[in-house]
């Protein structure tokens, strides 16, 4: 919903669910969570505690980080009971 001019702007400050998905917060990241899938027990604790909804449960039950939006807070790594996630510095 990119407006070009005042003519495109609605009457009031109404925001539609085109959503913040345009805002790629992955660009904020300094530390990158890296999952060692061999250690993952699919408990979904990391998924549950992600403030950025940036961990996906895949159809096969595995989890995957969404690096487009992951800000790299590290909660997933800190909460993982199997220490399957490590935080590594972004290049």
């Amino acid at each position: 919903m990119a407006f070009k001019s005042v003519k495109d702007v609605p009457l009031g400050p109404y925001c539609h669910l085109e959503s913040t998905l345009i805002n790629k917060t992955g660009e904020w990241r300094n530390m990158r969570p890296v999952l060692d899938r061999s250690k993952c027990i699919r408990c979904y604790i990391c998924w549950k505690f992600c403030p950025d909804v940036a961990i996906k449960i895949l159809p096969d039950g595995n989890i995957e980080h969404d690096y487009e939006f992951c800000k790299g807070c590290g909660i997933c790594a800190n909460e993982c009971p199997k220490k399957a996630i490590t935080m590594v510095r972004e290049e």
């Binding site: 407006f3 005042v6 009457l11 009031g12 400050p13 925001c15 669910l17």
Partner: protein
């Protein structure tokens, strides 16, 4: 049609009922209280099918109604003076969120010292909030304007909040005969509120988020200004259409009373206009070409109408029932602005009258016309005079 002898506040309540308002929220303050008491009676008796939210402050009253309006309901509140001042933040919010909330404000002086009597400072201080502002002259006009206001404010090209002001006690508590329109006629004139932005759970909309300087805040404010311009036309149209159905109309934004050929033209608003009309008649009988313009609407300001109506005047007097400290009467400064470069006469005079409810009598207004006559012959004495000040 039923004729009742009722107060301005009661007339306002009948307006709410006839407009089939769905959510009422208000907080008591003298001299507004009887509006909401009457509404509470209507609700209690089942005559008005509205949710009545008895809030803990005026600020909350308006906040509740803004959200109720966004929720798709037709809304009403009434307040006065300190109550209106407390609403100030939400006054901006109501316009910014484009909610056509309608309000009765009983014009009352601000404290301290405490004073519950007529003065327009309270509503004029809300000038820049994006509200349409009407000033009533009679109880009938209060009721009729209520119904007109819902049509104007809810218009898709306007979508702004609006208020009708009544002078404390002169209208709020004085009984006058009022025609109560038939419900069917009002229903024909005023369709149910159809907000374009009511809650939709399938296509959810957020209303009022952050907007940055480089982004669309300025454009959204431009839209309000644009809608206010649209309101000018709507006010006139709606008033005309109202006249066709109900047999009464109010000359749109400005009422012209014997002003066309007047040498001495007084401009004022509210109940003092009634007194001024009598005085104009009296002056005319004495051979003085006096006339009156009554400001019915302050926002949008009737710039073009005033320019058009004052062309023949030799002296223009503006009576303000309020004062902008550090400058002049607010109507006066706006009228001067409207007239700049557009009229031949430079004889403009401001009269500060009726502050804190001091009675604006026929004598007060005669002294004003006499002063205007003297200005016509001898030139301007001073630009602003406080009339009836105990010197």
């Amino acid at each position: 049609m039923v004729k009742k002898v009722i107060t301005g506040n009661s007339a306002a309540a009948y307006g709410v009922k006839l407009a089939r308002v769905q959510v009422v929220s208000a907080y008591p303050i003298t001299p507004q209280t009887t509006v909401v008491e009457k509404l509470a009676d209507f609700v209690a008796n089942g005559e008005l099918n509205a949710r009545f939210v008895n809030v803990e402050s005026e600020h909350s009253a308006l906040a509740a109604l803004i959200s109720a309006s966004l929720g798709g309901a037709r809304t009403f509140t009434a307040t006065s003076a300190h109550g209106l001042a407390l609403m100030h933040e939400m006054m901006h919010w109501a316009a910014g969120a484009r909610t056509p909330v309608v309000m009765v404000n009983v014009n009352r002086a601000m404290g301290p010292p405490w004073n519950i009597w007529a003065e327009m400072t309270d509503s004029i201080a809300q000038r820049d909030t994006g509200w349409i502002q009407f000033y009533g002259e009679s109880n009938q006009e209060v009721l009729d304007t209520m119904i007109q206001l819902y049509r104007i404010c809810e218009d898709k090209e306007v979508m702004l909040p609006g208020m009708i002001c009544e002078d404390a006690f002169y209208l709020s508590h004085t009984v006058l005969p009022v025609d109560i329109p038939e419900q069917e006629d009002v229903d024909r004139f005023l369709p149910p509120f159809e907000s374009a932005y009511k809650l939709d759970f399938d296509n959810p909309v957020s209303i009022g988020s952050l907007s940055m300087p480089h982004q669309w805040y300025m454009e959204l404010r431009y839209k309000i200004a644009e809608s206010m311009e649209n309101a000018r036309k709507k006010i006139v149209e709606v008033d005309r259409e109202f006249g066709k159905i109900f047999g009464r109309s109010y000359s749109g934004l400005v009422e012209n009373y014997r002003g066309d050929d007047a040498d001495l033209l007084l401009i004022c608003a509210g109940t003092m206009a009634s007194t001024a009309k009598d005085v104009v008649d009296e002056m005319r009988n004495e051979g003085v070409k006096a006339g009156l313009l009554r400001l019915r609407v302050f926002r949008p300001f009737p710039n073009a109408e005033i320019v058009n109506l004052v062309q023949n005047a030799k002296v223009i007097g503006v009576a303000d029932r309020s004062i902008s400290f550090g400058n002049q009467g607010p109507f006066f400064t706006e009228i001067k602005g409207a007239l700049y470069g557009k009229i031949p006469t430079k004889l403009l005079k401001n009269y500060i009258v009726g502050i804190g409810g001091r009675d604006v009598t026929t004598n007060t207004l005669k002294s004003i016309f006499r002063n205007m006559a003297s200005i016509k012959d001898h030139g301007l004495d001073e630009e602003v005079t406080w009339v009836d000040l105990k010197r």
